[in-house]
Homo-oligomer: 445 residues x 2
């Protein structure tokens, strides 16, 4: 039919795939420049239709799961999340599981989280960083956020099993290497990174299983964390989650929250130190709110009031959204401005390309946190956390974590960084090309 979206001319099909694999954004952006807000790429047997710009993106975010299936598009993550969990379960079960997760991340939990994150962060710097040195910031923030996040999710038990050894961070790194943009196209190739991924998942699962068992035996009833919420959640039919499902959800939550947060944190630090005007503003807030008003205590309400830090983080996420593509499988033909997207296509939005369109944000490539001083009211223009029914349930937790860690770090240390690193688009979660070397020295008291 002639009313399907225009198809990108692909000379040799392998060539196009290479181009896409190396830098998927270039091809998407240049196709947008040529063909506009909706077009189809043929890649390795997949037909991927992209929608770009808030109006077209609304089609994506407003679609129901029956029309646009995340399950069918995200099957390739099952080797990490596990069988029977979220995208690998019946739609109804998936909704219920996502609801359990949201229940685990309610306000009361977030309030408690701040203190835990602060404590873990201070301990980490004390034990690992000492007075001065040079480190790979991305690597360090990875290790730190996995500690803080896992403490918030499943309490102190996690530290006993893993110490501050970084073992969990290393295992998560292997998980991440075993899920990359290629694995969407070839989920079952016998690649070494896939074998390591499966071995790493087995180890993580064993650790989490033993934590659950320990928790069951424990008589301490003061614990009340995400794991507790999951262990005490009931499906509508009254049944509780199987251990296997709890383990899968914990792995999935940490996976969803870990690299996204540590990447955003790392980029935020680079931007703050490369833009001293904003750095000074955030330090003044910290000094006013934390040091003076709260006698050094970092708490939820104080963090909420750090507006400049918040707009810096949002602007960093606009420029560098860790998830550069979101996808759904088209289950029933979808109409958009007289074009029909056939069933079977993969419908995709790109936060990375979509938030740098000049029709959406002025001077889209420059770092300007002030643009968020007035609230952005167009729906689906800021999509770093997705939107609609599947919008990120971890948004508040993620931002809180970044704010807490930055507050501790910038209070304790002076940092010296180079220019903002470019992005490596070859991982599933796109972050700064490492190593991101940073010099630090303790501030005089």
């Amino acid at each position: 039919p002639s009313n399907i979206p225009p198809i990108v001319e692909t000379i040799p099909f392998i060539g196009c795939f290479y181009q896409f694999a190396k830098n998927p954004l270039k091809l998407v952006r240049s196709s947008y420049d040529k063909l506009g807000e909706i077009f189809t790429l043929h890649l390795m047997g997949f037909k991927m239709t992209f929608v770009l710009g808030p109006e077209a993106q609304a089609l994506f975010f407003r679609g129901t799961d029956e029309e646009l299936s995340p399950k069918e598009a995200y099957r390739f993550v099952t080797p990490v999340f596990g069988k029977g969990v979220v995208y690998d379960s019946e739609t109804e079960i998936m909704y219920e599981q996502l609801r359990f997760v949201k229940n685990g991340l309610v306000l009361s939990q977030l309030k408690k989280a701040v203190g835990i994150i602060q404590e873990e962060t201070e301990k980490y710097f004390e034990n690992k960083w000492g007075d001065s040195g040079e480190i790979d910031l991305l690597y360090e923030m990875n290790k730190l956020t996995i500690l803080t996040a896992s403490r918030c999710l499943m309490g102190k038990s996690i530290n006993k099993s893993l110490g501050q050894s970084g073992q969990l961070a290393d295992l998560y790194h292997e998980l991440e290497e075993g899920l990359n943009p290629i694995s969407f196209f070839f989920p079952n190739l016998p690649l070494p990174s896939f074998k390591k991924r499966d071995a790493a998942r087995a180890k993580v699962a064993a650790i989490f299983h033993s934590i659950i068992q320990e928790r069951r035996r424990s008589t301490d009833d003061s614990v009340d964390d995400v794991l507790y919420t999951l262990m005490n959640s009931k499906y509508k039919d009254g049944s509780i989650l199987e251990d296997e499902q709890i383990v899968g959800l914990m792995i999935g939550l940490l996976f969803a929250g870990q690299h996204t947060s540590s990447i955003t944190l790392t980029y935020s630090i680079f931007y703050l130190l490369n833009n001293l005007e904003y750095f000074d503003e955030t330090q003044k807030d910290i000094s006013d709110i934390v040091t003076k008003e709260n006698q050094g205590e970092i708490n939820f309400d104080g963090l909420k009031r750090m507006n400049r830090l918040e707009t810096v983080i949002r602007e960093v996420l606009r420029l560098h959204p860790p998830l550069i593509f979101l996808m759904r499988k088209v289950m029933t033909p979808m109409e958009y401005k007289g074009k029909t997207i056939p069933a079977g296509h993969i419908l995709a939005v790109s936060p990375q390309v979509g938030m740098r369109l000049p029709t959406v944000y002025k001077n889209p490539d420059s770092f300007d946190p002030k643009r968020f001083d007035v609230e952005d009211k167009t729906p689906f223009s800021f999509i770093a956390f997705g939107g609609g029914k599947h919008g990120c349930p971890g948004e508040n937790f993620g931002i809180l974590q970044i704010k807490t860690i930055w507050t501790v770090l910038s209070t304790k240390y002076n940092l010296e960084v180079g220019p903002v690193p470019p992005t490596d688009f070859t991982s599933l979660v796109a972050g700064p090309k490492g190593p991101c070397m940073v010099k630090y020295s303790k501030k005089q008291k």
Copy 2:
């Protein structure tokens, strides 16, 4: 045209590739059963024509480099071997480099090698194994052969830099993981294993560069190993090899010889201990030749006379050739029995499939070293080492190494093994699926 080789029906093209990637042999063997000694597989944009059986294989091995180019087929190994080395150089230069390699592996070198291998092996067991324990045999044989082979290739300097730390073995492991059957089809995908491969190669190259420089400064003129041969070789135009080329050749030689040898060694040990009749025969030879005749000295002539061990190794290689595919690019159309293989095809033989055809070896799937008691006179039936102009120059060295290590090992230790492990076909060099756990205990004196 209708006289091209028959084409294998490939239902969905990705599906066929998966099948091939998981177990490339099944598809090749079943196509042979259906279509006979010559057929074409369409895989990911490549047209691969297979020739099977000694007669058809002769076409492959007798072709000149102008007709059948190894260079064009093996480009994907360049990230490991290096630029300007062997398959990445002009055909004439490639021949000369292969000649230098052969000069480094002449009889006089092999004779010296035996003593070195024995010494390193004894040291290794003394330091690493002790009296008894359980180890992953494949992993251990990998570490050991890389030590013995690198000592033979470049003398004692290698130990100073790397100790017996196994660092070189680990780096070679990363090289190998960065070259797998997939990388033939997608040599440039941004896979994590490819990034690690490149980092590992840079490290190995740095180590070898410093060894060459040290050698240049040294005044000891008693050294005379493969490295020495390469450093003193001259191209026909009188020029010597660049350091970069020497490094590339050393990396390539170790790479070509390492996994092939350690895999064959591991499989040989499993077969010997699972077939005690042959085990006893080899032990009698060792006792007669080494212990009695030569008062415990292992030497070249003694090893040459160990016929049973030799036929065991050859039978192991027939059943489990580490290189399961050899390939050439067809440069000018080739005729075979009225069929034309068009230029542009990849011509392939499969030692693994080809040496298990019932028309070539009786009871092809059973382990029967005695079949080699009478010499096998059909050309190109035994092709574990390839054949023709590009036949393996390391054959004698490889077998010698295996014989020496087995002699030391079986004299020192009693071993207990499980059944012969199946083969993992997803590596470039196909070996037993690990871990290959083996129990050992020192023999009473």
